[in-house]
């Protein structure tokens, strides 16, 4: 068991390292100049050079690469003096410091920028995923039980439309009708009070939810149909169990397994920021930040966001595996056997 966990951790670290290195290389292979992006198009060459030196971009590629990883996690004093030149962009966790550097454009520590925006993106992700799981699973189960009937065809048709509509179209329509014409909700933004945050959350969550719920409904329907044809369902029916019991306690429990994987992947991906939806509704989360960072060539921010995204994907994969063991007792016994 310990060996498995250690292997898992090691391979996760390798994935993180691979992703960070790729990002680093791609970002440095880009021809446009970050120092020029900071200085502005009118700046004199001497000023651009000065800024390049200050940002540390005049060093060799290898030096910058090593510096990034040495800085990423290092030791330092647990109490930071204000304006400490050596630890200006650190987030100390006791004596261990986490440092993603300073944003070129926003001149704030990247760790702070991300810490400020991650909760908002997480809020949107959780709202959207809960919406799509609830609505999607309900529609999928209903369609599966009414297979070939009008309701089934209705769900299939509507959900196909749902998965074929990009979020910038469905979002725009929702925004136009719900916010602009009927004035039920704020057009976009984040708001100032908790009530405003909640009101602003509805449209982007709904936009993501429509797409996701359609996808989940189709997925759950297909899985349920497979399960309902299994022998154990026939046995349960022959024993005279109530239909809802067979549906929920027997078939659903088995159909839910593959859904857990998909939900985990979606949650991981959404935690990295739903770029289009966040942009459309001016939701100040990670997705909007990452678009700006790529366009403005803000290297430290790009690296920071990619690190967070990769970690969330890996963490959600891990969570999925743990959930699998919790839902399916067979996996637990298999693990117990293999650890012996």
């Amino acid at each position: 068991m310990i060996r498995r966990a250690a292997l898992r951790l090691l391979s996760s670290l390798v994935v993180v390292w691979l992703v960070l290195t790729t990002t680093f290389l791609i970002h440095h292979a880009l021809p446009s100049d970050p120092a020029r992006a900071v200085a502005g198009p009118q700046a004199r060459p001497a000023d651009v050079d000065r800024i390049r030196q200050r940002l540390g971009l005049d060093r060799s590629l290898a030096t910058q690469y090593v510096a990034f990883f040495r800085r990423l996690v290092h030791f330092g004093p647990s109490q930071l003096a204000p304006k400490d030149p050596d630890h200006g962009s650190c987030s100390p966790l006791g004596r261990v410091h986490l440092d993603l550097g300073m944003s070129f454009q926003k001149r704030k520590p990247v760790a702070k920028l991300i810490a400020e925006r991650l909760p908002r993106t997480a809020l949107l992700a959780v709202a959207a995923v809960s919406l799509q799981v609830l609505v999607g699973a309900a529609a999928g189960i209903l369609a599966a039980t009414r297979r070939g009937k009008l309701l089934d065809h209705g769900v299939i048709g509507l959900t196909l439309l749902g998965v074929s509509t990009p979020t910038f179209i469905s979002g725009l329509l929702l925004q136009y009708w719900l916010a602009y014409r009927w004035k039920l909700l704020p057009l976009d933004g984040w708001g100032r009070t908790t009530a405003e945050h909640a009101a602003c959350l509805v449209l982007p969550a709904l936009t993501l939810g429509v797409f996701g719920a359609s996808y989940y409904a189709r997925f759950v329907r297909d899985e349920m149909l497979v399960q309902l044809q299994q022998d154990y369902v026939r046995t349960a029916r022959a024993k005279g169990l109530q239909p809802w019991r067979i549906l929920v306690l027997h078939a659903l429990r088995n159909a839910v397994m593959p859904l857990v994987t998909v939900v985990g992947m979606d949650l991981g991906a959404l935690l990295g920021g739903a770029i289009v939806t966040e942009k459309l509704f001016r939701w100040p989360g990670l997705g909007a930040l990452s678009v700006d960072a790529v366009i403005e060539r803000d290297g430290p921010v790009v690296m920071g966001i990619v690190l967070v995204t990769t970690l969330t994907v890996i963490a959600s994969n891990l969570l999925v595996d743990l959930l699998y063991a919790a839902i399916d007792p067979r996996l637990r016994s298999r693990q117990a056997l293999s650890s012996r």
Binding site: V15, V19, I26, S32, L160, T165, F168, G273, S290, T309
Partner: protein
């Protein structure tokens, strides 16, 4: 596709609708610019610009013009060309890489070369945890004026990951069947087994995945256009047209509705076609 599969496909009405939509789209992309002879990138200041807004539909401009007085119908049809070209070529690239990687990983699974399988799948994991839009935008920014080739290469190079997993799983499944064991015991070369015995048996799922992938590539291309990092103006792409028209939605809804419908119908067509193919090739899956 054998006769019974063809029959199943033809009896499936949604699948036929999908095939019709795809045929229509292809026709529009191939012949459209011949039918609508307007240039998609030329502003026409001479006709119907009296109120300074976009010109309404007329015999000259069938759908009117956009806010820069360019013919909307011509832009839509040229957008269809871009969309279809990008989606099909990127899918071809993705299917090529994905099949190769999946076949290689699946064929080395459980053999003494299993480290290759392990390595390839870790690369796929890393790729899937990589925010692909970010990658696309980065490469777009790298080429500064991202042209058609850049968009195709980026979408193709990021689109194979999911497919390679499907191919690997199917390969492993097929490899455990008796006829493969027979071929192996006859001393056939692993490469020959992979290409002659495994590949033909997984062609169905590959075709189905590829069709669905065309739909998602059309979506991805329009997202890039919408985020202004796809094919650069003045070239007409549906996503870009949508973004340019977005601010005028209340006043000139056609500027948003037309490209939206185009994207929607194209994606819907390929999705329906893909599902129809799946049901026809693998009847148990319904």
């Amino acid at each position: 596709m054998n006769r019974s599969a063809l029959l199943r496909f033809r009896r499936n009405r949604p699948a036929c609708l999908g095939a019709a939509l795809v045929a229509l789209l292809t026709l529009a992309a191939l012949l459209g610019p011949v039918v609508v002879s307007q240039d998609p990138n030329t502003s026409d200041f001479l006709h119907g610009v009296g109120d300074l807004g976009p010109a309404p539909p007329s015999s000259l401009h069938w759908l009117g013009t956009d806010t820069l007085f360019r013919d909307l119908a011509a832009r839509l049809l040229h957008g269809a060309r871009i969309s279809l070209a990008v989606a099909i070529l990127a899918t071809a690239l993705a299917v090529g890489i994905g099949t190769l990687v999946g076949l290689l990983a699946g064929s080395t699974w459980g053999t003494r070369f299993r480290f290759l399988d392990e390595l390839l799948m870790r690369i796929v994991d890393a790729g899937l945890s990589f925010p692909y839009l970010l990658l696309v935008m980065a490469v777009g920014a790298a080429l500064d004026r991202s042209d058609l080739t850049a968009v195709i290469v980026v979408l193709g190079a990021t689109g194979w990951l999911g497919l390679s997993r499907v191919v690997r799983a199917k390969t492993i499944q097929i490899r455990q069947l008796d006829f493969v064991a027979a071929a192996r015991s006859l001393g056939q070369h692993p490469l020959r087994i992979a290409l002659r015995h495994v590949l033909p048996n997984i062609a169905g799922p590959i075709v189905v995945t590829a069709t669905a992938s065309v739909a998602s590539m059309i979506l991805a291309e329009s997202v890039l256009g919408y985020l202004t990092v796809g094919v650069q103006p003045p070239t007409a792409t549906w996503g870009r047209m949508l973004r340019e028209g977005q601010g005028f939605f209340a006043a000139e809804p056609i500027l948003v509705v037309a490209p939206s419908l185009a994207i929607l119908l194209a994606v819907l067509g390929f999705n329906l076609l893909g599902e129809g193919l799946r049901d026809a090739l693998d009847p148990q899956s319904r």
